[in-house]
């Protein structure tokens, strides 16, 4: 950005104040204090980040407390910064004018003789209080911004790798209706309702799911093998709560294992728990 400034007074008349409550106009001439430390061009840069940022920078540059803003001084510097933005043809957005109007209003209220102190009267408040509260609220995010900036820089120094494609070797379509499934279906229904899933999709989901079915089958076979003679209760094959997809996948894996004769299921009574057994430990390797 160029730092050369046009000479001569500029005015903000092209941007009328937008504050509806303000009776003050920005036509009010602003005395230029050339060389004043508060209006160096770098505040114009700061101003791009918003009117509150500009105000905070002016307050910092003047080494004054937010709680105790020398309002006349700051107002003057603020308006001068806005003028320079205009001079540089940067345009001054409405929100800057809004804060300018607020500043001017506060300044004029502070110049007025203080009304008689009356505790029932709202006028007892410092005219700057609201602006101070806003500045404080805004300011508290400045430290986190610096933290984020540091983290961003640190993070940019490290690199991650893309996921490797490990999902290529499973396509195991299940032919529909080849296995007698009615009892298992009931069990699945129970399971789905336990998982808080509506029952409708069960039939619709069964045909041909194939994602990572082989892996699920390996997992189930391994569990069955570990359980040995005692078998695995059907419902404990599912770790609830889990995604419907997991349930369906496990279910399909079991169906496929039954079909391939690598597992068998028994049930004594119609509503009893189904027990699932591995047919043989030697079969584990055969799944792949």
């Amino acid at each position: 950005m160029t730092t050369s400034l046009k000479a001569g007074p500029a005015s903000l008349t092209s941007k009328p104040p937008e504050a509806p409550g303000s009776t003050l106009s920005l036509h009010r001439p602003v005395s230029r204090h050339d060389g004043s430390p508060g209006v160096a061009p770098h505040f114009v840069t700061a101003a791009f980040e918003g009117p509150l940022e500009l105000l905070l920078q002016l307050i910092r540059a003047n080494r004054v407390e937010i709680y105790n803003i020398p309002i006349a001084e700051i107002t003057e510097q603020y308006l001068a910064a806005l003028e320079r933005m205009e001079d540089l043809d940067l345009g001054v957005a409405g929100e800057y004018v809004l804060i300018a109007a607020t500043l001017i209003e506060i300044k004029s209220r502070m110049l007025l003789p203080q009304p008689q102190l009356d505790e029932t009267d709202g006028d007892a408040e410092d005219p700057r209080a609201e602006l101070v509260a806003r500045l404080l609220e805004y300011q508290q995010f400045q430290a986190p911004v610096e933290t984020l900036r540091t983290w961003e820089a640190e993070r940019r120094a490290i690199f991650f790798r893309e996921a490797m494609d490990v999902a290529s070797d499973y396509m195991l379509p299940l032919a529909q209706g080849e296995v007698e499934v009615s009892q298992l279906f009931q069990a699945l229904h129970r399971l789905l309702s336990d998982a808080g899933v509506d029952e409708a999709p069960v039939t619709a989901v069964t045909p041909r799911k194939r994602l990572s079915l082989r892996m699920k089958m390996m997992e189930v076979v391994r569990r069955l093998a570990r359980a040995g003679e005692s078998g695995v209760p059907f419902s404990s094959l599912f770790e609830l709560p889990c995604a419907r997809y997991e349930i369906v996948l496990t279910f399909l894996a079991l169906l496929e294992l039954l079909k391939l004769g690598k597992a068998r299921a028994t049930q004594l009574e119609i509503h009893d728990e189904i027990l699932v057994f591995a047919y043989s430990r030697d079969e584990i390797a055969g799944v792949r």
Binding site: E49, G50, P51, L52, Y67, N68, I69, P70, I71, A72, E73, A93, E95, I99, M110, L111, Q114, E125, D126, R128, A129, V132, A133, R134, L136, E137, Y138, Q139, Q140, F141, A143, P144, V145, T147, L148, R149, W151, E152, E154, R155, R156, A157, I158, F159, F160, R161, E162, A163, M164, V166, R222
Partner: protein
């Protein structure tokens, strides 16, 4: 277990929660957590090319920062840095989420809508419902990608805000001081 963990983390291109690793390893989560910490230490001591980070609610391998330059020379691309208004908006969302655009604007004193678009595109924030007030303004929250972008594990790592988050009423003494100071002005 450490070796298997390293292999698992190597193939996955995103942070993996310890629970997922435990499931893959058929091991208990606290054992996996301990092994992860050991692996993290081993890699740190070794000062090799990679490190193990706790990031975005999971664990992920990454290069060590001292290799940045070399990697950049190989042609790794990095996303552009966030502007200050973007960082500021992001900070406000991070601390106040879920939050609406008008609420963000009120804090910043300037319009955030352009910045919001950038943050949404970069998936650092998402829309998460709407406030049930007139106009039903959209609510925004930070994402997993936000955590990942700043390489932190969760939001609790953000530094505490220094002053109270709600617009603090100006302390009585300050107001009094302020008034006392008035005559000193021009």
């Amino acid at each position: 277990m450490q070796a298997a963990l390293e292999a698992l983390l190597f193939v996955s291109g995103e942070p993996v929660p310890a629970a997922d690793l435990a499931r893959a390893l058929l091991a208990e989560e606290h054992i996996v957590e301990a092994a992860l910490r050991e692996l993290q230490e081993r890699l740190a001591e070794q000062e090799g090319g990679i490190q193990l980070l706790r990031i975005a609610n999971g664990w992920q391998l990454a290069t060590r920062p001292e290799h940045e330059e070399v990697i950049a020379r190989l042609g790794a691309k990095a996303a552009s840095r966030l502007s200050r208004p973007a960082l500021e908006t992001l900070a406000i969302i991070a601390y106040r989420q879920p939050i609406t655009i008008p609420e963000i604007d009120a804090v910043r004193g300037t319009s955030a809508s352009g910045v919001i678009k950038t943050l949404l595109e970069r998936r650092l924030i998402v829309e998460a419902g709407r406030r049930p007030t007139p106009g039903r303004p959209a609510l925004y929250t930070t994402t997993q990608d936000f955590l990942h972008y700043f390489a932190i594990s969760d939001l609790s790592e953000l530094p505490p805000l220094e002053t109270s988050p709600t617009p603090a009423p100006v302390p009585a003494e300050a107001v009094a001081d302020g008034r006392a100071a008035v005559p000193a002005e021009d």
